[in-house]
């Protein structure tokens, strides 16, 4: 049986939900998934790919910088490491980040995907929503859950947009790096995780 070791950025957030989804996707594809929670630079050794969960990007950056994980992971991603970020994870993977509508653009933690992302772009929790979403390239229809989600405001033409909602990309791909502003791990459907496992190879 094929085996893959998938890291879960373990600094903060909905880590266990991704763990369940990626395992389910592995079972479906006949791949044995080993999970490792990634907190320190040495946790990156031997990983086949990494998932960055939803949570608070400010909290993740703070802890990741302190432990030296962020610079180590940034280097690894620059060398073409498969990654999948959801919500806060998508913010970490964006080249340009806006803290709020009024603030200036800053460079993201891992500037892998050439896009400008606005934190909490839809508003506060009262504006959190779910909507049926068709993702042709993934071959799925799921209930996309947006929780204090960011909005991708601008995107480089070389980045693949897999689906949009209200005129904004909500799931995008650059080579083997995948980012969604919604939470596939809360949709009860492992199709997006299966798609990521195929990118991992």
């Amino acid at each position: 049986m094929k085996e893959r070791t998938i890291g879960l950025l373990g600094l903060q957030g909905a880590i266990e939900e991704h763990e369940a989804s990626i395992k389910e996707a592995g079972t479906r594809l006949g791949i044995e998934i080993n999970i490792r929670h990634v907190l320190l630079p040495e946790d990156l050794d031997g990983l086949d790919g990494i998932i960055m969960p939803g949570g608070e990007s400010t909290a993740m950056i703070k802890q990741g910088t302190k432990s030296g994980l962020l610079p180590a992971l940034r280097k690894r991603l620059a060398d073409g490491f498969p990654a999948f970020g959801t919500c806060a994870g998508a913010i970490l993977l964006a080249k340009h980040v806006k803290r709020d509508a009024k603030s200036e653009i800053r460079e993201g933690a891992f500037p892998v995907i050439d896009m400008t992302i606005l934190r909490n772009g839809y508003g506060r929790q009262k504006d959190s929503f779910s909507v049926p979403l068709h993702i042709a390239k993934v071959g799925t229809d799921l209930n996309a859950v947006f929780i204090r989600a960011p909005i991708i405001e601008e995107i480089h033409p070389e980045v693949d947009v897999l689906a949009t909602f209200d005129g904004h990309p909500v799931i995008v791909q650059k080579d083997n790096v995948l980012a969604s502003t919604f939470h596939p791990e809360l949709s009860g459907n492992p199709d997006v995780h299966s798609y990521f496992l195929k990118l991992v190879g």
Partner: protein, 313 residues
Amino acid sequence: MKERKILKEYGDVEITLGSTNLKRGFAKMVKHGVVMDVTNPTQAGIAEDAGAVAVMVLDKLPADIRARGGVARMATIQAIKETMETVSIPIMAKCRIGHTMEARLLEEIGVDMIDESEVLTPANEASHVWKWDFTVPFVNGCRDLGEALRRIEEGSAMIRTKGEAGTGNVAEAIRHMRLVNNGIRQVVAAKDNPQELMILAREMKVSYETVLKVAELGRLPVVNFAAGGIATPADAAMMMQMNCDGVFVGSGIYKSEDPEVRAEAIVMAVTHWDNPEKVAEAQSMVSERASMPGLDVSTLDEGKKLQLRGANI
């Protein structure tokens, strides 16, 4: 279904707001994090910089509420709004137990989560807020599994231990978490015995279905944090080791003499709770001489214990 979700036209599609999945999902996003009590925007900014996942806006810290006595109510709306404008992380605020209108006002101004809290003076001795009627998620305190499940049946999207707020003494939070964990173990052990599950449900004054759900999941169906008396990085890591999903720190930070560094150290201890070297590093950032002096809970009169509020309903 008890759930009250809102359907809204959005261009040519229909979106759902305020569903149970969205409310419980919000709580999932703050897991492995620290929610900090603050009384003004400056403190909220410090909390955000320290790596808090959310702040809880209060008029007075629990330790001051305890010392001052009198009636403790929801915070000043203007203070909550100012904090919402200052920080980019989620904002929580407390309403009194059973005070449906305070909760409605907090929902109206757009706080991200409401804590129906025993730290404030209870407003309704007969019942808690019926939280299914709200689209904003709620967090509630508990002292054991039964209390947790009663709150979940009322629509709570997140549970925390009550502990004994404002004491700087983690002993009660540990006791409550132990009771929740023991309760879950007991339910899981009865998983294949419907009669035993029914007896447990009756003892806890909750439905059979709710108990069955716990038996199947092997945990609470919502996120479960620790709260009440956490004062040091070691306290926070201890709670994580007891299977909590994260921690609330109330008076422990701003009643210490080193709030900035203590806030950072507690976040670090929660992130790395499973790594003693890192927790030691976090603990060495703070001095015990700077910790809040605290109270020995065993010397507290029963009437002064906040945890008893709303416990029997």
